[in-house]
């Protein structure tokens, strides 16, 4: 075969078209960063809609924000920040070749993500119970503003899209957990953990923007 693949230092996860593991890692990392840029722009569209409506109806945002539970929102913020820490620790464990710690840290991350989603679930069902649905299904009487449904449409869209990202992240964590228990990761090869970690930090950062924008409006 071609000259490339005859060198012996290949890890078993190295793909044929890369010259060496370093090139593969660099490419994966760069690709992930570029992908995260596209994610930011996707949320950016919704943030732009948010900004426009907040400029038009500032009083609505103050009124409607009171319906959101700051305590649980705050708890969720802490949960996500904690999970960002544990995912970083999983990467560190891989670099130090502590294979057991990789799995433990990934497991904690997964649990924290699940806690986030459970809290989110209770927040949503509570609002549905009150009749706070998105768009034309909105029936809540408690906010004296004709455009209150638009605020909650934005709330559901933005936290919903974020929730989808958390769920995808949980899927990725499960996949990593399975692979780490098989001993795939170590100091030689931990690209998937690093990439998922980058993704997870982004999910975390987006929530850090969403939380004050919806829950903390005076």
């Amino acid at each position: 075969m071609a000259n490339h693949s005859t060198t012996s230092s290949h890890s078993r996860f190295q793909q044929h078209h890369f010259v060496d593991a370093e090139q593969q890692f660099d490419a994966a990392k760069m690709g992930m960063w570029v992908f995260l840029v596209t994610e930011i722009l996707m949320f950016g569209g919704l943030f732009a809609a948010y900004i426009v409506y907040r400029l038009w109806y500032p009083e609505l945002f103050v009124l409607a924000s009171e319906e959101l539970n700051t305590l649980w929102g705050g708890v969720n913020t802490l949960v996500l920040i904690g999970s960002s820490l544990t995912v970083a620790m999983a990467i560190k464990s891989a670099q130090l070749n502590q294979k057991r710690n990789i799995a433990i840290n990934l497991g904690i991350t997964l649990a924290l993500a699940a806690i986030f989603m459970v809290i989110k679930y209770f927040e949503y069902t509570h609002k549905f119970h009150l009749g706070i649905f998105p768009g034309e299904f909105y029936t809540f009487e408690g906010i004296d503003h004709p455009k209150a449904n638009v605020f909650f449409s934005l709330y559901y869209l933005m936290t919903g899209l974020h929730g989808i990202h958390v769920t995808i992240g949980m899927g990725l964590m499960i996949w990593l957990l399975v692979r780490s228990t098989k001993g795939h990761f170590g100091e030689e090869y931990y690209t998937p953990i690093e990439m998922t970690g980058l993704y997870w930090h982004l999910v975390d950062i987006i929530w850090i923007f969403l939380f004050p924008l919806f829950y903390l409006i005076d």
Partner: protein, 580 residues
């Protein structure tokens, strides 16, 4: 060999001369339907894209011919108004999302980007295959929407019409949403490939201009397409949940939709045309055997277009009721984006100076591009001027303008690229005489179709009209006749290209005498592109240097992507071919 390892600055290289008609190539090293469907080879994926976009080009083209036929008489000719409205909508949506956006980057770009970089594949081959299947899925969803009621919103999906009309708008927007992800992932893949997969010695100043243009295109794809995705998702939500962001009946703002939509869709026209610019640079240098004039001017002007292109979306909205100040700023920026495009035209012309010009069919297509794109670009200046746009907006003038840019510019460049690279892709030559005749037919047919539309538009004929006043009938009829000529030209190309696959003369590895890297491998290329690691010491347009300097590769099992710049290159005496 020992010396090479002892002294990393000195590398041992060898001359590899490509074979024509090799025994083994990417099409026969693995065979069977299943290997095609699961292939991660960028060349096969490129061919699959090529087949798909050709199919959709003809589907969209037939719709265009039906639209033109209906316009033969001022009132109903043979179809109902609602059918007509669906046809022009689908013509636009299919041509833009299923043909133009993926045409050059996903089909030709996929095939030739790794070859031009001296890489074995793109950075993420499996992601590349996934992009293709996402494209197919999006296309299938779009077809589902056509059979389950169709859409009649125009390809722009303007709210509140799109959020209130009947038909399968939700499915169609979902289809386009899905196709968007194909485009995003291809962009991510190409950017990473260009940054990380270049062969030793291939520095940024030796990157081919086609690769530069794909780089600029990918930047636009990753920055603009996510916004389109979320915008179309919002339209879907508007229809399903009535979220009231865009529909004034529920408290929304329809003009906000237009801002969101054009934030993607204006840069999207650069996604469509910028890769075409890359092809022009490749073809002009090859057929004039001349170094490109103003390499950096052309490379950087693509990036300039990519960035300024993001700031001009409001020029689609001069009469929408946006603030006068915004209108002024958008008009100003629109004129600025014209400058880098002009710079390219002048540099290409200057490249011809003192060249050795051979009027082969790819170059002929490029000259077709030159004239048509020039007209398209200059009428863009007309439309960028606010007062003139107030008169011409949403008339046939706009229709003619963007067809000159998209068909006259982009499709002509695509055809030039297709003819230029066909021998490399397929390993066969097409009938050159027929290619020249087809080029002439398309050029004439195109002008007969669209020049009358400039006249109609200036006189005030609005676009998307089923009925029209009788004053315009003769122009419409000339235009319709032109469209038949144009359609015939495209069918002719299809005929002789397909014929060449079976009966074409075998192509030599480098029939045009190009210095570019993709011509230094066999025709057809091997499955993993290069049997050797290519070493690049010259730029892709160094026509003043002898050919054998472009056929160098590492002479040993040397795997590091070390920088060969400044390294002493010693060519081993024995010449070898790259046979395994």
């Amino acid at each position: 060999m020992a010396t090479a390892e002892a002294n990393p600055k000195k590398i041992q290289v060898q001359r590899y001369e490509p074979e024509s008609d090799p025994d083994k190539h990417y099409l026969n090293e693995e065979t069977g339907l299943w290997t095609w469907l699961t292939t991660v080879d960028h060349k096969k994926i490129g061919l699959m894209y090529l087949a798909s976009i050709t199919f959709f080009f003809f589907v969209g083209g037939i719709m265009a011919l039906l639209v033109r036929t209906e316009l033969w008489t001022p009132a109903k000719t043979f179809i109902e108004a609602n059918t007509y409205n669906q046809l022009f909508t689908l013509h636009g949506a299919i041509m833009i999302f299923l043909f133009l956006v993926p045409s050059v980057p996903a089909a030709l770009g996929n095939f030739f980007l790794p070859l031009q970089l001296g890489a074995k594949d793109v950075a993420f081959p499996r992601l590349n295959l996934l992009s293709y299947y996402i494209y197919v899925a999006g296309a299938v969803i779009s077809i589902v929407s056509i059979v389950s009621g169709g859409i009649d919103t125009g390809w722009t999906f303007y709210t509140p019409y799109s959020s209130t009309t009947g038909g399968a708008v939700t499915i169609m927007t979902f289809g386009v949403f899905v196709i968007g992800f194909s485009s995003i992932l291809t962009g991510v893949n190409f950017i990473t490939t260009i940054h990380k997969m270049r062969a030793p010695g291939l520095t940024w100043d030796k990157l081919s201009l086609f690769s530069w243009s794909l780089y600029a295109t990918s930047i636009i794809q990753i920055l603009a397409t996510p916004v389109l995705a979320i915008t179309l998702a919002l339209v879907g939500m508007e229809r399903i949940l009535g979220i009231g962001i865009f529909d004034p009946a529920m408290g929304g703002d329809p003009v906000l939709y237009q801002h969101f939509f054009w934030f993607y869709s204006h840069p999207a026209v650069y996604i469509m045309i910028v890769p075409g610019f890359g092809i022009v640079s490749e073809v002009i240098t090859t057929f004039s055997k001349k170094h490109i004039f103003g390499y950096w001017a052309i490379a950087l002007s693509s990036l300039a277009i990519a960035f300024i292109g993001f700031l001009v979306w409001g020029h689609h909205m001069f009469v929408s009721g946006q603030a006068s100040l915004a209108t002024m700023v958008f008009s100003f920026l629109t004129f600025l984006v014209g400058i880098p495009t002009g710079i390219k035209m002048f540099n290409w012309t200057a490249t011809l100076y003192k060249g050795s010009i051979k009027l082969a069919s790819p170059l002929l297509y490029i000259f077709g591009f030159f004239f048509l794109f020039l007209v398209g670009g200059l009428t863009g200046i007309v439309l960028g001027s606010i007062a003139l746009d107030v008169h011409l907006h949403d008339t046939y003038y706009v229709v003619a303008h963007f067809h000159f840019v998209m068909v006259g510019g982009m499709v002509m460049a695509f055809l030039a690229g297709l003819h230029y690279w066909w021998p490399k892709m397929i390993g066969r030559m097409y009938n050159e005489t027929m290619a020249k005749i087809a080029c002439g037919i398309i050029f004439i047919g195109f002008n007969v179709t669209f020049l009358p539309q400039f006249v109609m538009g200036s006189q005030g004929m609005p676009r998307r009209y089923f009925n029209y006043i009788e004053q315009f009938q003769s122009f419409h009829q000339i235009s319709t006749i032109g469209s038949y000529i144009l359609g015939f030209g495209f069918v002719m190309i299809f005929y002789y290209l397909v014929k060449s696959i079976f009966t074409g003369e075998k192509a030599s590895p480098n029939p045009w005498g190009s210095r570019a890297l993709e011509w230094q491998v066999n025709s057809r290329p091997p499955l993993h592109n290069f049997h050797h690691t290519p070493v690049i010491v010259n730029g892709p347009y160094d026509y003043h240097k002898p050919m054998d300097e472009f056929q160098l590769g590492l002479a040993e099992n040397h795997n590091a992507h070390s920088d060969v710049n400044g390294a002493e290159v010693s060519v081993s005496n024995e010449e070898e071919t790259s046979a395994e």
